[in-house]
C-alpha cells in the first residue's frame, strides 16, 4: 500500500518532466496541446489519489501531510483546467501569429516544467530542495512571461527576473540561517534541513538566528507572494505574459511562495523565545491590501487590474494567517483556495475577451454582456465573487476573517474593512464600465472554452453555499496545525 502511495507522489513528480521532454521533441502544436492537457490530467489524478490512499511516510526529501496536500490538489487541478483553457487560447494566438509553432513547443515544455517545480516545492520535506523548486518554477515563469518577444514582454520578464533573483538570494540566505540554527541541535548534514525534524526540535533552536532567518525568508518568498512593497514584478508579469500564464501565476505560483512562508511561520511559532511572526505578517498583509486597493483605481490595462487584485487578496490571506486562531486560519485557507479558482477563472475570461476585442485597454472594452454574454456574465460573476459578494465562496472567508478579527482586535478590523471596501469600489467601477454600457469594439463571435471557466465559477458558487463536511473537518485540522 505504502509503495503504491509512494508511486502516487512519484507520479506527481515524474509525469510533468517526462511530458515536457516529449513535448519539446514533438513538432505539431495540436498534439502537444493535447498532450499537455493529458499530462496535467494524469498529474491531477495522481494528486487526487493521495486523498484516498494512505500517505507515504515522510522521507528526507519528500513529505505529504495535511497541509501541503491541500496545495497539491489545488495546484494540479488548476494546472489541469488552465491547460484546457490554454489549448483554445494558444490556437488563437497561433492564428493571429503572435506565437510560432516553435514558441509553442517551448511554451508547453516550460508549462510542464513549471508544474513540476511547483509540485516539487509542495512535496519537498527539505527546505533546501523547496528553495530550489521554487526558484525553478520562478525561472520558468520568467521565460514564459517573455515569450511574446515584444518590447514590453521582454521588459516585464527582465524586471521579474531581476527582482526575482534578489528574492532568491534573500530566501537562500534565510534558508542557510535556518540550517545554522538547526545544526547545533540536530547535528550536521541533511537532517538539519529536513522539515519534519526541524519542526520537532524548533523549540531549542537559537531564537536570534531564527528571527533573522524569518525576516530574510519573509522578504525572499514574500517577493514571490507579491506582497507590497515587494510586488513590483507582479502586475507587469501578469499583463505581458500569455493569459494562461497569468492565470497560473495568480492562481498557483503565489500559493507556492505563500506555502513556503507558512512553513517557516510554523517553525518560528514553534520557538517560544523568537519574535511572534503574526504581527509581521499582519502588517505586510494590511499594507498590501490597502496599497493594492488604491492602485486598482488608476489601472487602464485589464490584466494589470486583476494582477493588483491578486496582490490585494494575497494581502488578505497573509493577514488571516498572521491573525492565526482556528477561525482565521480556516478562513485564510478557504480564501486561498477560492481566490485561486476565481482568479484563474477571471483570467480565462479576460484572455478570451482580450483576444476577441484585440486589446487589453479597459477603455476600449464596453458592454460585454451585450456583445458576448457568455464571457461578459462570466466576468461579472467572477468579479462579484472576487469582490467578496455572496453567494460565492470568497464571501464566506471574508465573513470569517472580518468578524473574527473585529471580535479580537477591533482596531485591526477597521483598516481591513476599509481596504476591502476600497478594492470593492475600484473593481466594481471597472466592471461596470467593461460589462455594461453602450457596447464598444469588435462583436465577432469567440470560440472560447467555457468549460474550465464555468466549472471554476460553479465550484466557487457551490463552496459559497455548501462545504462538504469532510472538506471542513480536513481544513479545520489544517487550521489547527497552523496554530
Amino acid at each position: 500500500m505504502t509503495t503504491f502511495s509512494f508511486d502516487a507522489v512519484a507520479a506527481i513528480l515524474l509525469i510533468p518532466p517526462s511530458a515536457a521532454a516529449l513535448m519539446a521533441a514533438l513538432p505539431n502544436y495540436r498534439v502537444t496541446a493535447r498532450l499537455n492537457v493529458v499530462a496535467s490530467f494524469l498529474t491531477m489524478l495522481a494528486a487526487l489519489s493521495l486523498l484516498v490512499i494512505d500517505r507515504p511516510l515522510p522521507g528526507q526529501y519528500l513529505l505529504v501531510d495535511d497541509l501541503n496536500i491541500v496545495f497539491i490538489v489545488l495546484n494540479t487541478f488548476v494546472g489541469f483546467t488552465t491547460s484546457v483553457f490554454s489549448a483554445s487560447y494558444i490556437a488563437h494566438e497561433l492564428d493571429t501569429g503572435r506565437l510560432t509553432a516553435t514558441n509553442l513547443r517551448f511554451y508547453h515544455a516550460m508549462y510542464q516544467i513549471m508544474m513540476f517545480g511547483m509540485n516539487l516545492a509542495f512535496v519537498s520535506n527539505n527546505i533546501g530542495l523547496m528553495w530550489v523548486a521554487v526558484e525553478l518554477a520562478t525561472l520558468t515563469t520568467v521565460l514564459m512571461v517573455g515569450i511574446y518577444r515584444t518590447h514590453e514582454a521582454l521588459e516585464a520578464a527582465w524586471k521579474y527576473f531581476i527582482l526575482g533573483s534578489v528574492g532568491i538570494a534573500l530566501a537562500l540566505f534565510g534558508t542557510i540561517l535556518v540550517y545554522m540554527a538547526a545544526q547545533p541541535v540536530v547535528g550536521e548534514g541533511t537532517n538539519a534541513m529536513v522539515w519534519t525534524v526541524l519542526i520537532q526540535q524548533a523549540a531549542r533552536f537559537d531564537p536570534a538566528l531564527l528571527n533573522v532567518a524569518f525576516v530574510f525568508l519573509l522578504l525572499g518568498y514574500g517577493t514571490k507572494v507579491g506582497l507590497a512593497p515587494l510586488h513590483a514584478w507582479l502586475p507587469d508579469a501578469h499583463a505581458e505574459g500569455p493569459t494562461p500564464i497569468s492565470a497560473v501565476l495568480s492562481g498557483l505560483l503565489l500559493n507556492v511562495a505563500l506555502y513556503a512562508v507558512l512553513r517557516f511561520k510554523l517553525l518560528l511559532a514553534a520557538s517560544p523565545q523568537a519574535i511572534p511572526p503574526g504581527p509581521l505578517m499582519v502588517t505586510m498583509g494590511l499594507t498590501s491590501l490597502i496599497f493594492a486597493a488604491f492602485m486598482l483605481y488608476r489601472r487602464r490595462d485589464i490584466k494589470r487590474l486583476f494582477a493588483y487584485s491578486s496582490i490585494e487578496h494575497m494581502g488578505i490571506i497573509v493577514f488571516a494567517f498572521g491573525m492565526g486562531g482556528p477561525l482565521a486560519n480556516f478562513a485564510g485557507l478557504l480564501h486561498m483556495v477560492m481566490h485561486s479558482l476565481t482568479k484563474s477563472a477571471i483570467f480565462f475570461a479576460v484572455g478570451h475577451i482580450a483576444q476577441v476585442k484585440g486589446t487589453q485597454k479597459i477603455a476600449d472594452i464596453k458592454g460585454l454582456t451585450e456583445t458576448h454574454p457568455g464571457l461578459g456574465w462570466a466576468l461579472v460573476i467572477g468579479v462579484v465573487a472576487i469582490a467578496g459578494l455572496p453567494p460565492l465562496g470568497i464571501f464566506m472567508s471574508e465573513f470569517l476573517v472580518v468578524s473574527s478579527t473585529f471580535a479580537r482586535q477591533p482596531l485591526l478590523a477597521i483598516p481591513l474593512v476599509f481596504g476591502l471596501l476600497l478594492a470593492f469600489g475600484a473593481l466594481l467601477f471597472r466592471l461596470t464600465g467593461v460589462a455594461f454600457g453602450e457596447p464598444h469594439g469588435s462583436t465577432a463571435p469567440v470560440e472560447a472554452s467555457y468549460v474550465p471557466l464555468y466549472s471554476h465559477l460553479a465550484l466557487v458558487f457551490a463552496a459559497g453555499i455548501y462545504l462538504p463536511p469532510p472538506l471542513v473537518t480536513w481544513f479545520q485540522h489544517v487550521a489547527a496545525i497552523l496554530g
Binding site: L219, P229, R298, G425, T432
Partner: protein, 672 residues
C-alpha cells in the same frame, strides 16, 4: 407535519427555481407571462402560509436547520411573529408586483435582463427575514442587494443607470460590512454566529453601543437613513417600475426588519440615549427626505425621496419604542412599536401603489419628468383615481391608512412626559414637531405630484397619446388602493394582529381593539384619545352625498362649459401653468435657504429693454457636498500619489526592497 418555516423555504426554493427557469426561457415571447405568473402564484402561496402562521398560532416559533452555509453551524431558519409579519409585507408586495408585472412587463425592452433577477430578488428578501444566523442573514442580505442591483442595471445603456447601480452596490457593500462587524461583535471571538447564541449572550455597554452604531450604518444605509440615503433616489427610479415599487416599498422594510431584529431582539436591554440617537436621525431623515422630494420634478425620484421621509417616520417611532423600553414603560413601548410596524405596512401599500401609478404613467407617456405632463386625469381616469388614493394615504389624511400610523406615533409621543431623562423629555416633543412638519410637507409634496402630473392641461405632446393601462396593472393598483382604505377604516384589525410581535419583543401589547364599539381604536384609554376611521369615513360619505342630493334636488343642477378665466388674456398656453418647480418655490424660499443653501437670482432687464428677464435657481445637495465629495476627493488624491509607484525604475524598486529589509533588521536589532 412539516413546520411552517419549511413550507416557506420550499416557497423560496420555488422562487429560485423560477429564476433559473427564467434564465433559460427569458428570450421567448411567453417568458414574461410565465415568470410573473409563477412568482405571483408562489408569493401568494407564501403570503397565505405566513398570514395563517400569524393568525393561527402567533406565539408559535418554528425553526429548521439545513446543512448549508457556515459549515460547523449550518443554515438556521426561524419563523416567529416578527418575521411572519415582515414576510406578510414582503410577499404581499411581491405578489402584487408580479401581478402588475404581468401587464407592465410586456413593455419591457430587455426582458432577459429583468426576468431572471425578479424572482431571485423576491427569494432574497424572503430569506433575509427567515434567516436565523448571522451568516445566512448577511448572505441573503447581500444576495438581495445583488439581485436588485442587477435589476437596476437592466437598462444599462443609460449612463445614469450604470452610475446609480455603481453607487448603490458600493453603499450596499458598505452596509454589509457594517453589519458584518456588528455580528462579529455579537458573536464574539469564538464565532457563535447563531441568533439564539447571540440572544443568550449578555453584551457589555460598549459592545451594545457599537452594535447600535453599526446597525444604524448597516441597516440605515439600506433603508435610506440620512446621510446614508444618497444611493436610494438614484437606484430606485432606475429600475423597472414594479421593481422600484419592491425596492421602495418592501426592501427598505427588510432593512427595518434587520434593525428591529438586532436592536430589539438580539440586544436585550437598550440604553436610554440610544432612543435619542434614533429619534434624532429619524426626525432629520423625515424632514430632509420630504424637502428633497419637494424639489424633485422627476416623479419616480420624488417617490424615492418620499420613501426616505417615511423611513424617517418609522425610525422616529422605533426610537420612541427604544426610549420607552429602556425606561421600563412597556405599554408605551408597545404603542410606539405598533405605530412603527403599522407604518411599515402602510408604506408598503401606498408606496407600491404610487410606483405602480408612475409606471403606468411611464408606459402611457414615456415621460418621468412631470414638467412635460399634465391633464392625465382625462386620459387615464382609473389610474389617476388610484394614484389620488395613494397620494391621500401617503399624506397622512383621514380616513386613509397613512393617518392612522401617524396618529399612533403622535399618541406615543404624548406619553413622553413620563420619561425620566431630560434629554428625552425635551427631544421628543421637538421631534413630534418635526414629524408634523414632515407630514404637512408630504401633503404639499403630493398635492404637487398629483396636481402637476395628472391635473391641469397637457404640457407636451406625449400626453396627447396617453391611454389607460392594461387590466393587470389596474388590478394590482386597485387592490392596493382598497388595502389602503381598509387599513384606514378598520385599523383595530391590524393593531391586534401586530400584538404578538410587540409581545415577543417588548413583553407587552396594546389593548385589544376589535372589542371596541364601532371598530374605533383606543390606544390607552377611552377618555384620553380615540379615533374611528370607519365613522369618519361614513360621516364624510353620508354628509357629502346628503349635501349633493339636497342641492341637486332642491337647488339648480344646471351646468355650462366655458374657457377658464385667464385674467383677460385670451387662450393662455399650457406653459403658463404652474410647474413643479414654481409650485415648490414658496416652500423652497421658506426652508430651502438653510436646507439646500438655495439661491434665487433674478436678472430683470431695465424698462424698455427687449431682452428677456431670467430667473436662475441654484440648489446644493448639502449632504453630498459635506459627506461624500471629501471622501471621493481623498481617494482621488491618494490614488494620484500612490500611482507613481507603478512607474518607478527597477533600481528604485530594489531600493524599496532594500529599505524594507533594513527596517525589518533594525526592528530585530531593537527587539528586546
Amino acid at each position: 407535519m412539516t413546520p411552517i418555516v419549511a413550507l416557506a423555504l420550499w416557497g423560496v426554493a420555488a422562487l429560485l427555481g423560477t429564476a433559473i427557469l427564467a434564465v433559460a426561457v427569458s428570450r421567448r415571447a411567453s417568458a414574461t407571462r410565465l415568470v410573473y405568473g409563477a412568482t405571483l402564484g408562489i408569493s401568494a402561496a407564501l403570503f397565505v402560509i405566513v398570514a395563517s402562521a400569524l393568525a393561527g398560532d402567533p406565539a408559535g416559533v418554528s425553526a429548521v436547520t439545513l446543512p448549508l452555509g457556515l459549515p460547523w453551524i449550518g443554515a438556521h431558519f426561524r419563523l416567529d411573529a416578527l418575521s411572519s409579519f415582515f414576510l406578510v409585507v414582503v410577499n404581499l408586495g411581491g405578489a402584487l408586483a408580479s401581478l402588475y408585472g404581468l401587464g407592465y412587463g410586456r413593455h419591457e425592452t430587455a426582458p432577459h435582463r429583468v426576468l431572471p433577477f425578479f424572482p431571485a430578488f423576491l427569494a432574497g428578501m424572503n430569506l433575509v427575514v427567515l434567516a436565523d444566523d448571522a451568516f445566512m442573514f448577511l448572505l441573503s442580505w447581500e444576495f438581495m442587494s445583488l439581485a436588485s442591483w442587477a435589476l437596476v442595471m437592466a437598462h444599462h445603456r443609460e449612463q445614469d443607470n450604470t452610475q446609480a447601480g455603481y453607487i448603490y452596490l458600493v453603499m450596499a457593500s458598505f452596509g454589509t460590512l457594517a453589519l458584518l462587524l456588528a455580528f462579529g461583535l455579537l458573536a464574539g471571538p469564538d464565532g457563535t454566529y447563531t441568533f439564539d447564541a447571540m440572544r443568550a449572550a449578555e453584551p457589555g455597554r460598549f459592545v451594545a453601543a457599537t452594535v447600535l452604531a453599526l446597525m444604524l450604518l448597516g441597516a440605515g444605509s439600506k433603508a435610506g437613513l440620512v446621510p446614508l440615503h444618497v444611493w436610494l433616489p438614484l437606484a430606485h427610479p432606475a429600475a423597472p417600475s414594479h421593481v422600484s415599487a419592491l425596492m421602495s416599498g418592501v426592501m427598505t422594510k427588510v432593512a427595518i426588519y434587520g434593525f428591529i431584529r438586532v436592536i430589539f431582539d438580539l440586544l436585550s436591554e437598550p440604553a436610554w440615549w440610544s432612543g435619542v440617537v434614533v429619534l434624532f436621525l429619524g426626525g432629520l431623515t423625515a424632514v430632509l427626505g420630504i424637502l428633497y422630494a419637494l424639489l424633485e420634478k422627476d416623479l419616480k425620484r420624488l417617490l424615492a425621496y418620499s420613501t426616505i421621509e417615511n423611513i424617517g417616520v418609522i425610525f422616529v417611532s422605533l426610537g420612541l419604542a427604544l426610549a420607552f423600553k429602556a425606561n421600563a414603560m412597556p405599554s408605551a413601548a408597545a404603542l410606539a412599536l405598533t405605530a412603527a410596524l403599522f407604518h411599515v405596512l402602510n408604506h408598503s401599500f401606498f408606496k407600491s401603489l404610487l410606483f405602480f401609478g408612475a409606471g403606468a404613467m411611464l408606459t402611457a407617456t414615456g415621460e418621468r419628468n412631470m414638467e412635460k405632463l399634465g391633464g392625465l386625469i382625462h386620459r387615464m381616469p382609473l389610474t389617476s383615481f388610484v394614484f389620488l388614493v395613494g397620494c391621500v394615504s401617503i399624506s397622512a389624511l383621514p380616513p386613509f391608512n397613512g393617518f392612522v400610523s401617524e396618529w399612533l406615533a403622535f399618541q406615543a409621543i404624548l406619553q413622553s412626559p413620563d420619561l425620566p431623562q431630560w434629554g428625552l423629555k425635551v427631544m421628543v416633543p421637538a421631534v413630534g414637531g418635526l414629524l408634523a412638519l414632515s407630514a404637512a410637507l408630504a401633503a404639499a409634496c403630493f398635492v404637487k405630484a398629483f396636481g402637476i402630473a395628472f391635473l391641469g392641461r397637457p404640457r407636451s405632446a406625449a400626453v396627447e397619446l396617453a391611454h389607460e393601462v392594461d387590466r393587470y396593472s389596474l388590478a394590482a393598483m386597485f387592490t392596493l388602493a382598497a388595502l389602503c382604505l381598509l387599513a384606514g377604516i378598520m385599523p383595530g384589525l391590524v393593531i391586534d394582529s401586530l400584538s404578538p410581535v410587540t409581545l415577543s419583543l417588548i413583553g407587552n401589547r396594546m389593548p385589544v381593539q376589535m372589542a371596541q364599539p364601532w371598530l374605533s381604536i383606543v390606544p390607552i384609554g377611552e377618555s384620553r384619545s380615540s379615533y374611528n376611521g370607519l365613522l369618519v369615513f361614513a360621516f364624510i360619505a353620508i354628509s357629502a352625498s346628503l349635501a349633493a342630493f339636497f342641492i341637486h334636488r332642491f337647488a339648480s343642477h344646471a351646468l355650462r362649459r366655458s374657457p377658464a378665466w385667464g385674467c383677460g388674456f385670451p387662450d393662455v398656453t399650457p406653459a403658463a401653468q404652474y410647474t413643479a418647480v414654481s409650485f415648490a418655490q414658496p416652500i423652497r424660499r421658506v426652508f430651502g435657504t438653510f436646507a439646500f443653501r438655495a439661491r434665487e437670482m433674478v436678472e430683470m432687464p431695465p424698462p424698455g429693454a427687449t431682452s428677456p428677464a431670467r430667473l436662475t435657481v441654484e440648489v446644493h445637495d448639502v449632504i453630498w457636498e459635506i459627506f461624500y465629495q471629501p471622501i471621493a476627493g481623498a481617494i482621488e488624491f491618494a490614488t494620484e500619489k500612490l500611482n507613481h509607484l507603478q512607474f518607478l525604475t527597477i533600481r528604485r524598486y530594489l531600493t524599496l526592497v532594500f529599505l524594507y529589509l533594513v527596517t525589518l533588521l533594525l526592528v530585530l536589532a531593537l527587539w528586546p
